[in-house]
Symmetry: C2
Subunit: 206 residues, 2 copies
DNA sequence: GTAGGATTGGATCGTCAAGTCCAGTCCGAA
DNA sequence: TTCGGACTGGACTTGACGATCCAATCCTAC
């Protein structure tokens, strides 16, 4: 019984990863409830028992998917955010986010956002993990903005925390609307509005 | 067979309404996939056959729920938005939205937003209805902002459409984050940022 | 009051998902 | 090389859900 903890062998780790990656992909596209364990089994090329060998139940697998997606987003976003030292860099970050959404016509939305919308209310364990993911994300944005305060691009005293939350909310809401409307106009409008507001904190103004 | 079209009798209409209201409530709290037709049957106090007498299948019922929620939101929001003639009124609108979220600790999120997140990708018929709902909502906001342009509170040439989309995205993203974080700080941050940006369009500035 | 459609009750069916079981194979350590 | 635990395959059980069926009742128009 290796259900708890990481598999001890190389092969076991590879199998577990394959399951998580397949589940993440399916859950991203069809939601958690819309993803059956048989579907995961087929997509990952494993048998039923392997899923339950590595995970206690579907909730446990879902938890692993949340962790996986949080890390994937951070891995993707961090490079853009650690170099956030100017308004140009902020615009570039926005362009990357918008472009990613545009490429798929808004389909899918944010991997973390959809999971959160589906699970937060009914599953406290999921909500905690998701809140942690969002927190790490907004923390990364805040650190970027703090860089801009540090190097003088933004006025001292600027509340980087609050602005980071506003940016994250704009991303989430924009992506959600992009999903329904199949265009990125709301995402762009929201990001542009918040960024324009941030520009109001540029050093060299009141 | 009265599956299509409204029931012809008073009693039939009441039964149909009871089903839609019960389904809307359950789907709001547990999602569409998390709401079984037996659960709707019990909550509405009807029998299985009645559900399938008034609706072709669960998708058809879901469609009715989307319509119901769109109308409920519009009915709730319109009074606040038709009187949107000043920045004070805009702040009041924000306060109502934030207060509603705070009252339930963010739980539930936006009735339209959660449905959209769950259904938009896989169900085109739902996406169309949801996009229409969002469109009506942002349209109502835009009309409010247009009033402010008309009465001179906002500069002529202000793009009320874009600002309305930004506000709606801020609401959606803020509510989504409130759901996971159990607080309204992101919602407030996003709305404050967008509203501050709108204030930048106040008449009497460049 | 009565015909006929609208409405209702609830048993029932087919399907599929979650999770279990166990027999077997692989593989590293002694 | 052999022992034991890690890992794998897939049949199987159980239960719930969506949907159907049909008989019974209501109610409105005539």
């Amino acid at each position: 019984m290796t259900s708890q903890g990481a598999p001890s062998t190389q092969k076991g780790r590879a199998t577990r990863d394959r399951i998580v990656v397949a589940a993440a992909e399916l859950m991203y596209r069809h939601g958690v409830a819309g993803t059956s364990t048989p579907a995961v089994r087929d997509a990952a090329g494993v048998s039923s028992s392997q899923i339950y060998h590595y995970f206690a139940d579907k909730d446990d697998l879902t938890k692993a998917v949340i962790t996986h997606q949080s890390q994937a987003i951070l891995a993707h976003q961090t490079p853009l955010l650690v170099t956030l030292d100017s308004f140009d860099a902020l615009d570039s970050w926005r362009d990357v986010v918008v472009e990613a959404a545009r490429r798929q016509n808004g389909a899918g939305g944010c991997p973390l956002g959809s999971l959160s919308s589906e699970l937060s209310d009914d599953h406290p364990w999921a909500r905690d993990a998701l809140a942690a993911g969002f927190s790490a994300w907004s923390g990364a944005i805040r650190d970027g903005l703090a860089t801009m305060v540090g190097n003088g691009a933004l006025r001292p005293g600027t509340d980087a925390d609050e602005l980071a939350l506003a940016l994250l909310a704009a991303v989430q809401g924009g992506l959600l609307l992009a999903q329904a409307q199949h265009n990125t106009s709301a995402l762009e409008a929201a990001l542009n509005a918040v960024i324009a507001h941030i520009r109001g904190h540029a050093a060299g103004r009141a």
